[in-house]
């Protein structure tokens, strides 16, 4: 039976490849996050991808495994009692709304924000937004006065709708906090995060909080998202979650380099881009962590979250503005910090932070509830201000300087320098080209026409007396005109080859290959024409590379590859010769580099001694008038 199953399994794997394993990995999501539209959709998506694009599925498998492992560990971190959670908690403690295990003060009237997790009940989150507090207080005043008066603990649970906001109010049974907050039986929406408020009339019964913490009441880290799912209770999170997550993570990490080997080529060109971007925009990148710190200063509100999102958008679109915003944001933090230091008591009363023996306000790493913590907040504010001030000349200052005194922005200066250089090259090249044409016409066709005229004059003179001699002179004149034409032809070919003018780069290179004495393999895919100057520059660049291969390399064959993608024309000329070509020696390739430089094109030569030689040229340009041609 087992053997049969194994055979079927290997057959299926052979048919669809390893990508099919994506389906069971996705199915783990159901076990981890519960049965929901999303998790089922993920499994279906995995199945479709595995069947339709097995290659892509196989590549995605390791990454998915790593993702599953990490999410497993994150969930484990949320679960009280698992070893991972203790690590997470100790890291998260400074950011927490409430220190773990801190006693709930008796008689603390008003909303308390905290997080509870009950493994036996499926787990839920208790979190109050100021709006919810107001709503609840109203409701409690109107409906549950009796319960409060009786000294019982009243709990209200707001089941969040997808759109947010309270949907249903459930009055808990009377009794201890532990009982009411952590209901024993199944409860509507168990396993979801709730917004709720425990309200104490006379303080919780002794021992209730202890029970609560024992059951897993934990701090709520600032990055916890409202409305998320928690794993159902059972074997999963209790025993298997951490080992399985670690196994998936290890396997995934081990497999990732293999599956990404194909993408490495693209990644290799991307990595320096990303590094350059980070170096150029390093101060702008700071905006995102700074706005995240803002969450711990102003609390989790729609507008603070919007600020984080805006920071990401600004960073992506206008990195310079992002850099300029960093000191401004830091200054705002500092103002808030100084205000707190001076005025913490009244602000804390309004803010209604977590119970800490009295009202309190959080400010980044400290919870302000006493004169000493207020001073600490002031110190923190000074640090923010100092850092902001240090950044000003590096961000706003630089940008203002470059705006008001153009010519100091290093990027612009570099560009101007490059343009000046390439323009000089272009003008020089055009001038020397005109000189060459002038000289060729002067010494060639023009001289021949002069000779022709003189011949004809001589014919005029000798015709009446010596027709025989006149005939010879006429033959000579005809010969002279043939030579003049031939020289003009060569000249025209050097200025702008006729096939290039007729049919564009692809055909012109084919014609060039036909005139080359070496066997030349062509792989050209150009679905359109390039602009005439680019076409001409590229044609002569290829002609130069080809001539070098014929003259110096001793190659037996040459390969020319031309592709156009992402508005970049890429030309490769490779030969199997002796190599050792040095583009800095000799003027040919330097001339090509200069000519391509006019179009922001680049030339790279790889030619190790012993060969092979590969000349790569890239020119940014657009294709026009789609005509299909490939050879």
């Amino acid at each position: 039976m087992l053997v049969l199953l194994w055979r079927i399994l290997t057959q299926i794997l052979r048919r669809f490849g390893w990508g099919l394993l994506l389906v069971p990995v996705a199915a783990l999501g159901i076990a981890l996050f519960g049965l929901s539209v999303w998790t089922v959709a993920a499994v279906i998506l995995a199945a479709v991808v595995a069947v339709q694009w097995p290659g892509a599925a196989a590549r995605a498998l390791p990454v998915t495994m790593v993702g599953a492992g990490v999410s497993g560990l994150v969930v484990a971190g949320r679960i009280s009692g698992s070893p991972v959670s203790w690590v997470v908690k100790s890291i998260a403690a400074p950011f927490a709304f409430r220190k773990p295990g801190a006693p709930m003060p008796p008689g603390a009237i008003g909303p308390t924000r905290w997080f509870a997790y009950a493994p036996s009940g499926g787990g839920f989150q208790v979190l109050l937004s100021p709006k919810a507090v107001q709503n609840f207080n109203q409701a409690a005043m109107n409906a549950k006065i009796a319960a409060v008066k009786a000294g019982a603990v009243t709990k209200r649970v707001f089941l969040p709708k997808p759109g947010g906001g309270p949907k249903q109010v459930i009055a808990s049974p009377k009794g201890a906090v532990a009982q009411s907050v952590l209901p024993k039986g199944p409860m509507p929406g168990a396993g979801r995060a709730f917004t709720a408020m425990p309200r104490f009339a006379v303080g919780p019964p002794p021992g209730a909080l202890a029970k609560l913490h024992a059951a897993g009441a934990a701090v709520r880290p600032p990055w916890a998202v409202r409305g998320e799912m928690f794993p159902p209770a059972g074997l999963w999170h209790g025993r298997l979650l951490v080992p399985v997550a670690l196994l998936l993570l290890t396997l995934g990490l081990w497999l990732t380099p293999r599956s990404l080997a194909g993408l490495r080529g693209r990644g290799a060109t991307l990595a320096p881009e990303v590094r350059r971007w980070l170096v150029e925009n390093r101060w702008g990148v700071l905006l995102v962590p700074v706005t995240l710190i803002g969450l711990t200063i102003f609390g989790l509100h729609p507008w603070t979250i919007a600020a984080v999102v805006a920071a990401v958008v600004v960073l992506a679109r206008w990195p310079r503005i992002a850099a300029d915003l960093v000191p401004v944001t830091l200054a705002v933090f500092a103002v808030r910090g100084f205000e707190l230091a001076a005025n913490w008591q009244s602000m804390a009363a309004n803010f209604q932070g977590p119970g800490f023996g009295g009202p309190s306000v959080e400010y980044a790493a400290v919870l302000v509830h006493s004169p000493s913590t207020a001073l600490l907040a002031g110190a923190q504010a000074s640090a923010f201000l100092a850092f902001g001030a240090w950044l000003v000349p590096r961000t706003i200052g630089t940008h203002a300087r470059s705006t008001f005194t153009p010519g100091t922005d290093p990027e612009l200066v570099g560009r101007v320098q490059r343009l000046t250089e390439t323009r000089t090259h272009a003008v020089d090249a055009a001038t020397s080209e005109l000189r060459r044409i002038e000289r060729d016409l002067h010494d060639g066709a023009q001289a021949r026409l002069v000779a022709l005229g003189m011949n004809l004059r001589a014919v005029e003179r000798v015709l009446p007396t010596n027709p025989q001699a006149a005939l010879a002179l006429v033959a000579e004149a005809r010969e002279s005109s043939v030579r003049a034409l031939s020289e003009l032809r060569d000249l025209i070919r050097g200025i702008y080859p006729p096939v290039l003018a007729d049919r564009g780069l692809g055909h012109a290179v084919r014609a060039l290959a036909l005139d080359t004495p070496l066997p030349t393999e062509l792989d050209i895919d150009l679905p359109g024409r390039l602009s005439a100057p680019v076409e001409s520059a590229c044609y002569f660049a290829i002609a130069e590379a080809l001539a070098n291969a014929v003259k110096h390399s001793g190659a037996r064959r040459v390969q020319i590859r031309i592709r156009h993608a992402d508005n970049i024309l890429r030309i490769e000329v490779a030969d199997d010769g002796v190599g050792g070509a040095d583009p800095t020696q000799g003027t040919g390739l330097q001339g090509v580099e200069r000519r391509l430089g006019t179009f922001d094109g680049i030339l790279a030569v790889s030619s190790p001694p012993g060969g092979p030689t590969m000349v790569v040229m890239e020119v940014p340009c657009e294709l026009s008038s789609p005509k299909t041609y490939s050879s």
């Binding site: 043939v482 034409l485 032809r489 003018a501 007729d502 049919r503 036909l514 005139d515 004495p517």
Partner: protein, 214 residues
């Protein structure tokens, strides 16, 4: 013999018409653009057409394209292409259909009217005529080639003239040797290049060109 002439420069068109009339050709049509040429070729069905490669409307290789199109419609329609320059690429396209009855000449060849008219008559008779410049390039490309390098100097001369489309008689006249000597050279060339010998001049030219073009 009825001829269609396609040339956009008036002076040249006029000159060609005169030259051909003087040699007893009948001008069926003289056009100055590619669409006009195509319709003239398909309607008049001339014995031979003389076509400039570069013609309006785009002044690219419109004449060549029109000639190729007409030859697809009417296989073996005799066409002589004239151009200021010769390109192996275009020669290849003309020879690709292996039907013969094509010529590809530099405009300079008009200067030697006897040879030019001979070439036109050869093409009209189903023969193939290539400009010496094309043949020089073809031979240059194959010069490093084993079999071609085994040919003697005289044999190479004969090969070049054969590729241009000349008959044994013409080759003999040109090289000042007897016809018998020419046929001896041709036999030797065909053996060295491992080509199937043929008595038919036209097939012989096509075989040589196909070999050089490979």
């Amino acid at each position: 013999m009825r001829v269609v002439v396609a040339e956009d420069l008036f002076l040249l068109r006029d000159g060609l018409t005169r030259l051909l009339t003087a040699h007893d050709f009948e001008i069926a049509a003289a056009v100055d653009n590619a669409p006009g040429l195509l319709s003239a070729l398909l309607e008049q069905r001339p014995d031979v057409a003389i076509v400039d490669v570069r013609l309006p409307p785009t002044f690219a290789d419109d004449g060549l394209q029109a000639a190729l199109t007409a030859r697809r419609e009417v296989p073996g329609l005799p066409v002589v292409l004239l151009s200021q320059y010769v390109e192996q690429l275009y020669a290849r396209e003309l020879l690709a259909d292996q039907a013969g009855a094509v010529g590809y000449l530099l405009k300079d060849r008009v200067f030697n009217d006897d040879q030019f008219v001979d070439a036109i008559r050869t093409v009209a008779g189903g023969g193939t005529v290539m400009d010496p410049e094309v043949v020089t390039k073809l031979l240059g490309r194959r010069s490093k080639d084993e079999p071609v390098s085994r040919l003697s100097g005289r044999e190479r001369e004969v090969l070049a003239l054969m590729a241009e489309g000349r008959s044994n008689v013409a080759i003999a006249q040109r090289l000042f040797i007897t016809e018998k000597a020419v046929s001896k050279h041709t036999t030797s060339i065909f053996t060295k290049l491992d080509l199937a010998a043929s008595e038919d001049d036209n097939r012989r030219v096509l075989a040589v060109l196909a070999y050089l073009n490979a």
